[in-house]
Amino acid sequence: MTECPDDVLRDLLPEYALEALGTAASARVAAHLAECAACRAELALLGQVHGTLTRGVPRVDVAAVVAALPRPMPRPVAIPAARRWVMRPVWQYAAAAGLLLAAGSGVAWQRAAGGHAARLADSTLVQSAGRVQAVQATQAARAESGISFGGGLSDLSVDELQSLLGQMDTLRALPSSDPASMTPVIAMNEGGKTL
């Protein structure tokens, strides 16, 4: 039995026999078959082999197979977005704690040093307290010893309290009390020598 020398076309014959080729490939094989007796003979043999091998194959009971299948496993539920903040990395909490500690240390240092910023803060608070005292003459005695939070706040109105809080906010916005830069300024002449 002779064989077709066109291996590519011969390789397509099983799919052609099963009608599994696309339209274009199928038309190409059909055109080749019209001219090639060897491929026609091989196609006939493929049909015989297919008929023989598939003969006597029992019909599978699809319903019985499906009944024996496992149930699908539920997929893990995604964590709601609202709760994701709990899962932040530890370093973020550590950084936040460090920031708070640094801020607290700064305030403590200001108060302990009694420097310019602290004095400015005190004067601001005194001014604020003075305004409150102007509104409430009954607080005049307390003005002599500076501001006092002990017991006097309950006597203030809402507006007065808000005014006081506003003054405290300006206190937080004061310039940094860090020491000035110590970088020396070196003056140089035109020749590049230090003066």
Binding site: T23, V49, T52, V65, P72
Partner: protein, 185 residues
């Protein structure tokens, strides 16, 4: 199948798998119906005589148990054939062990494949079956997957654990051997 319907793509297996995983039992029915008969054909061509149904069912049960690990780098059908092939080998080994302990007559000592011959009445069909039975096990696997399923060489290579080029050679050698056997009449 008409020219018009031939090129229409059915719902991909991977989409049916996703539907089944969401609890759609009809998707499982469609998947089993799509592949069960091809698996049964392959089992029979590999010499399985009894319990083909059971073997096909075991294939699907195993596959569905591990569908989470199916990566779709090959087709589902190829994956199913790979599972079935392992089950067929397991069964054949088990049968061989039983044979080694039970004395059998000469008729049972011939190849399993020939045991189906009694079902074939037509002389021509008998000759074709004998021609295929004479192939080596690897040639027979490649040849039957190509002829009965139209499986591409790349997929056949995955099922039989070989290369695409080697499978092409096995197929053409098998075809030549079958032709020669039938032309000897």
């Amino acid at each position: 199948m008409s020219e018009l319907t031939r090129d229409i793509e059915p719902t991909p297996d991977i989409a049916l798998i996703a539907r089944w995983q969401r609890g759609d039992q009809r998707a499982a029915t469609e998947l089993v119906g799509r592949h069960a008969q091809a698996l049964a054909r392959f089992a029979v061509t590999q010499g399985i005589r009894d319990g083909v149904d059971e073997l096909v069912q075991d294939t699907f049960v195993r596959a569905f148990h591990s569908l989470e690990s199916f990566r779709a780098d090959s087709s589902l059908r190829t994956w199913l054939f790979t599972i079935l092939k392992r089950l067929v080998l397991d069964r054949q080994r088990s049968e061989q062990r039983q044979r080694s302990t039970v004395e059998l007559d000469e008729e049972h000592a011939v190849q399993d494949f020939n045991a189906l011959d009694g079902m074939v009445a037509d002389e021509t069909l008998l000759r074709v079956r004998q021609a295929v039975a004479r192939l080596s096990p690897l040639q027979r696997e490649v040849f039957t997957l190509r002829v009965t399923e139209g499986m591409p060489y790349t997929e056949i290579a995955r099922v039989v654990g070989s290369t695409e080029g080697a499978c092409r050679v096995h197929y053409h050698n098998a075809m030549r051997a079958v032709k020669e056997y039938l032309s000897d009449d």
